[in-house]
């Protein structure tokens, strides 16, 4: 063991040396300091004097999902403004998600926001919420089941309509042969997006499934598809993090295809501005979180319901180079 302990000491010494060196080895470009310099402080104070209600949000987001992070941010900011105690839980397993909704009911919350990626699994527990008199708003997915399950309204993007917007946009750009890159096999929303795009696209479109948790493999798969069929002139990715990877794959394969994507992030904004990306379809996740909380508040405060029994659509909004410049700052702070 003596040798092991010496090893620990050596590692510690080296670590200390590196930490010391890091103070000297500063970067004069980029980094946190640059961000801090650029960012103005924003305060989040309640704008109303209604009682401090508790609203729970339970989604089907997996760990570390960029999209749901923005939804959550929207919800949190609305909660701060509306004097709401906001609680959030998520799990990509429907059974666990239902359990979290049950927990919220047990805590007698004043409102529940829930996403219905697998509606059937949540049917029973939503009936319990209705019985307990807790207002429910569904977000993102489940527009078809929302009213049936007793929700006040649904806020989200219809995936098929979003897909159709992509097909139309591709037509306008004179594309003939497209690939729809799905990074999660078996995700209904992804299938609907590609199916919607296929419906309105006048050229041919194929689906390509990639391993979303393994970026090098995503790149290799897209590269392989482009090499197998050089006539492909459009690649559509379904998530923002996959767009820069598709651009790399396209460059490596020597293809002239245009890369387009669903959702936004900082690199998408950068690539839109530089022209490396054609367009991005935003379903405005911030709005899904913000509106859900705000509408629950409105219902509690004023018995208002929005949508008239129909889903309130938050997208699709097509973002191109022009809008990207304007939105870049908002994307950086994580609200777009």
């Amino acid at each position: 063991m003596a040798r092991v302990r010496t090893g620990v000491r050596v590692v510690g010494a080296v670590l200390a040396a590196v930490l010391g060196a890091s103070l000297a080895g500063c970067s004069s470009t980029g980094g946190k300091r640059a961000e801090e310099r650029a960012r103005a402080a924003e305060a989040g104070r309640p704008a109303v004097s209604t009682p401090r209600w508790t609203f729970a949000m339970v989604t089907h987001a997996g760990d570390g999902d960029t999209f749901w992070d923005i939804v959550q941010k929207g919800a949190k900011e609305a909660a701060a403004k509306d004097n709401i105690n906001f609680v959030y839980a998520h799990d990509d397993q429907a059974q666990q998600q239902a359990q979290f909704v049950q927990n919220a009911i047990d805590q007698k919350v004043d409102g529940i926001v829930v996403s219905l990626a697998k509606p059937e699994a949540l049917k029973d527990v939503l009936a319990k919420a209705a019985k307990a008199g807790i207002p429910v708003i569904t977000v993102n997915s489940g527009s078809a089941q929302s009213a049936e399950y007793g929700a006040l309204t649904h806020i989200g993007q219809d995936e098929v309509i979003a897909g159709e917007a992509v097909g139309t946009e591709l037509n306008e750009r004179g594309r003939k042969r497209a690939v729809c890159v799905l990074h999660e096999q078996g995700n209904v929303g992804h299938e609907q997006r590609c199916a919607g795009a296929k419906k309105t696209f006048s050229g041919t479109m194929e689906n390509l499934y990639v391993e979303g948790t393994n970026m090098p493999s995503v790149q290799a798969s897209i590269q392989a598809q482009l090499q197998a069929d050089p006539s492909i002139d459009a690649i559509v990715t379904l998530g923002a993090p996959f767009a820069p990877t598709a651009i790399k794959a396209k460059d490596a394969a020597g293809s002239k295809a245009e890369v387009d994507t669903f959702d936004l992030n900082a690199s998408v904004a950068r690539d839109l501005k530089s022209g490396a990306l054609g367009f991005a379809v935003d379903q405005q996740p911030y709005l899904q979180g913000y509106e859900a909380i705000d509408l629950l508040w409105l219902y509690r405060y004023n018995a208002n319901v929005l949508g008239g029994g129909r889903p309130v659509l938050t997208g699709p909004q097509i973002v191109t180079a022009d809008e990207a410049a304007k939105l870049e700052e908002y994307i950086k702070r994580g609200s777009r």
């Binding site: 590692v11 080296v14 670590l15 590196v18 570390g64 090098p216 392989a224 197998a228």
Partner: protein
């Protein structure tokens, strides 16, 4: 053992063996046959598979698995698993990126800190294993879960979102990218630097395994730790060394991901540990330890690269993608086992 000496009076163990026999005894022979079979299969099934540019894509795909499969193979020969290898790659990329960003430090500082952190995780795995005597399955499963949580928790805590901020505009990025993620265009072919890393790692691993004392230790520890200890093999040191080897390669792999994709998502890497183990097993490593080779892991990674991309080149209905992948891997492994059995029988 036979008591009758051969006619020429030499001990049978010292009798010269033919080159063919030597070849048949190699652990990777089965996987080479499998690789040739997969290669021929896709050459016929997919017209674009044989293009030089396609092969470079396959090689890139194989290299990203192979860089990790080689140390994992060594670890398996030493009789242990590492289920944390997949997320450790992501951890290493996250640490470099976030350290550089938060400290506004030169990118190379983050790269150095990441090396230390990753090696420390490898050391932790090996140290816990030898200290607690728990199975490596449990120890590294614990590390896997902890790292998955830390990756997400720290990223969220520090950056406020689930992916890192871009560090592409920071000092040192260009030179680090040159080392970890550069590429050369030769006509229509793009060769990635990971392929060089891969070959180098396999060469070093093979040298360690076959030409050094440490190599003997690895085989001995995997064959039977108690017997090895009795003959004076430093079992603890060997095991910790093997886990740190995996960590070192996870660091290389992680830096590649960081510098080629610029932004790292905290949820990545989960499940990749199995790909490394699969590549090592196809390459002839036994699940029980004591047998296998580093070159075999490279062939296994190559089979994986051919299969996952060949399916795309063949333009098969993608609904069946995972099924094809699984069937190909199973067939390759069966063929591998069959060839090995024949090889052993012919001895």
């Amino acid at each position: 053992m036979s008591t009758t000496a051969p006619a020429d009076g030499l001990d049978e163990r010292l009798a010269p063996t033919s080159a063919l026999r030597k070849l048949l005894a190699r652990p990777e022979l089965g996987s080479v046959v499998g690789a040739v079979a997969v290669f021929v299969f896709f050459s016929i099934a997919a017209p674009s598979f044989l293009q030089a540019s396609s092969l470079s894509t396959v090689l890139y795909s194989a290299s990203t698995i192979g860089i990790m499969a080689a140390p994992v193979a060594l670890l398996m020969i030493g009789g242990e698993f590492d289920l944390s290898a997949g997320v450790m790659v992501t951890t290493s990329a996250l640490v470099s990126s976030m350290f550089s960003y938060q400290m506004t430090a030169n990118v190379w500082v983050g790269v150095g800190v990441s090396l230390l952190v990753t090696l420390a995780i490898g050391f932790f795995n090996g140290f816990m294993l030898t200290r607690t005597k728990l199975p490596s399955f449990i120890i590294t499963l614990g590390t896997f879960l902890m790292l998955t949580g830390l990756n997400l928790g720290f990223t969220k805590l520090i950056t406020g979102t689930v992916s890192t901020k871009t560090i592409a505009d920071m000092e040192g990025f260009a030179s680090a990218r040159a080392l970890f993620a550069s590429q050369w265009n030769i006509g229509s072919v793009t060769l990635k630097v990971t392929i060089l890393w891969w070959f180098a790692i396999v060469a070093v691993a093979t040298w360690i395994l076959l030409r050094t004392r440490a190599g003997n230790w690895i085989f001995a520890v995997g064959g039977g730790a108690d017997a090895a200890r009795a003959t004076g093999v430093p079992v603890v040191k060997t095991r910790i060394g093997l886990y740190m080897g995996v960590a070192l390669c996870a660091w290389i792999s992680g830096q590649h991901i960081l510098f080629s994709f610029d932004v790292v998502q905290s949820g990545e890497g989960v499940g990749n540990e199995f790909l490394y183990i699969i590549a090592a097993v196809i390459g002839g490593c036994l699940m029980t330890g004591g047998y296998g080779s580093a070159i075999g892991s490279a062939v296994g990674a190559f089979i994986f690269g051919m299969t996952s991309n060949g399916i795309v080149y063949a333009q098969w209905n993608p609904d069946w993608f995972k099924f094809f992948l699984g069937a190909m891997l199973l067939l390759a492994t069966l063929l591998n086992a069959w060839v090995r059995k024949r090889a052993e029988a012919s001895k």
